[in-house]
């Protein structure tokens, strides 16, 4: 097998996918309720404001009505919570993917398309292909490896291709333009308003952003011991963005966890180990303990 194939299918512990799966499906439930609650309001957005996306026209998807929006909402919420448990990974996984995709088409068909969730959509599309995966299982799997790898690729594409899009739409002038000044005027926080007035700082930040986006694929090249620091740097970039212009890119952040050794994160196991298990005590021991 040649090197690109070995890289694409590099096996990872099944427990990593189990943890990532729980994280991603829990995120979908939170996305519905907390992060992008405005999608629901399209239930009673007037129908003539609906401008269906290409994919919605190809698939002949119906104009959202209150019934459609609320049906998708509740079905997705229930199925995502069920999928987060890891049960029926294929059936629940495909159902969540299909419903979330429709949910996104409802979200983006009213005049504004967001660019923060390609990584999450890829994760939802590939997680069902892994099949069963138990939390804490350290046996290596190529299916799991491919699923996480392509999610990572989508996450890095979100940076790298964004740099190319800046060159396409803004050109090289983007570097010295007023793009960040405008963003801060529109939605800047107190912190951003104070930083924006420092001469040259926003321009320097623009050079930094392009550089970071173009170099982001190096995350796969740097030595393993520094990789988590690289991912931490990605997350810190979004902390900064959020503190300046309150844009969180939350779905992208969830997908980016595909880089992390999540099989080591076992919160339920930790709680179990720490607390006594009264159910396991025999009645006599329970009396003594009480």
């Amino acid at each position: 097998m040649d090197a690109p194939m070995r890289w694409l299918f590099a096996p990872v512990p099944l427990g990593r996918v189990a943890a990532f799966r729980t994280l991603v499906y829990a995120f979908v439930a939170l996305d519905l309720t907390v992060f992008t609650p405005w999608v629901r309001s399209h239930a009673n957005t007037p129908g003539d404001l609906y401008q269906p996306l290409l994919v919605g026209r190809i698939l002949h998807l119906p104009t959202p009505t209150p019934l459609l929006v609320w049906t998708v909402f509740w079905a997705l919420l229930v199925l995502a919570v069920a999928a987060a448990t890891g049960r029926a990974p294929r059936a629940l996984g495909w159902a969540v993917f299909a419903l979330y995709f429709e949910w996104m088409i409802i979200a983006m068909s009213y005049g504004k398309v967001d660019h923060d969730r390609v990584g999450l959509l890829v994760a939802l599309a590939v997680l069902p292909t892994v099949g069963r995966a138990r939390h804490g299982d350290l046996s290596l799997s190529e299916r799991a490896g491919w699923a996480l790898r392509v999610t990572q690729i989508a996450v890095i594409c979100t940076y790298f291709l964004a740099a190319l899009a800046k060159l396409r739409f803004g050109g090289i002038d983007w570097l010295t333009s007023a793009v960040l000044a405008q963003a801060i005027i529109r939605r800047g926080t107190w912190l951003a308003d104070h930083i924006a007035v420092v001469p040259g700082l926003l321009i320097a930040a623009q050079f930094g952003i392009i550089l970071f986006e173009l170099l982001s694929p190096l995350i796969w090249v740097i030595p393993q011991k520094w990789r988590n620091w690289g991912v931490a740097f990605f997350y810190s970039f979004h902390v900064m963005t959020f503190s300046m212009i309150t844009i969180s890119f939350a779905p992208h952040l969830a997908a980016m966890a595909s880089f992390l050794p999540l099989e080591k994160v076992r919160p339920i196991e930790w709680v179990r180990r720490r607390s006594p298990r009264p159910a396991r005590l025999s009645p006599s021991r329970a009396r003594r303990a009480g």
Binding site: L8, L54, Y110, S141, W146, L161, F169, D173, A181, P199
Partner: protein
Amino acid sequence: MAANELTVRGRRVRVVATLVAGALLLAGTFWGVDDDFPFGPFRMYSTAPDPNGDAKDTRVEGVDTAGRTVAITEGNSGIRRAEIEGQQSAYESDPARLSQIADAYASHSPGAAPLRTVKIVIRWHGIEHARPTGDYRDEVVAEWTRP
């Protein structure tokens, strides 16, 4: 050795899926538009506004029957600012469309006094050397009052 080794076919299907999705995303980046979601270009903040031009900050305001000015937000109307901006020219050519925002506000903010007037206001902020100057002026681009 990996626990669940892939078959030749399983591997081939995955390679093809990876290449097709990658090619679509790449094509979307160079030639696509937002309409091609999810394969459109990642064009968030990709324009290059004039470092010495005015910056546009759009807001929607309502005046309720009690004479109070209310900022119309996603929270109280369910409509995002970017969605109003995306369809701004439609509101400009037919300000009566703003009545739909009053309706959306009424259904999202039950108990609030109904809106008598809705308007789209652009605040133009001065920019010099890619920095805000602190000066601004307001321009009303569309206004509707309940007949």
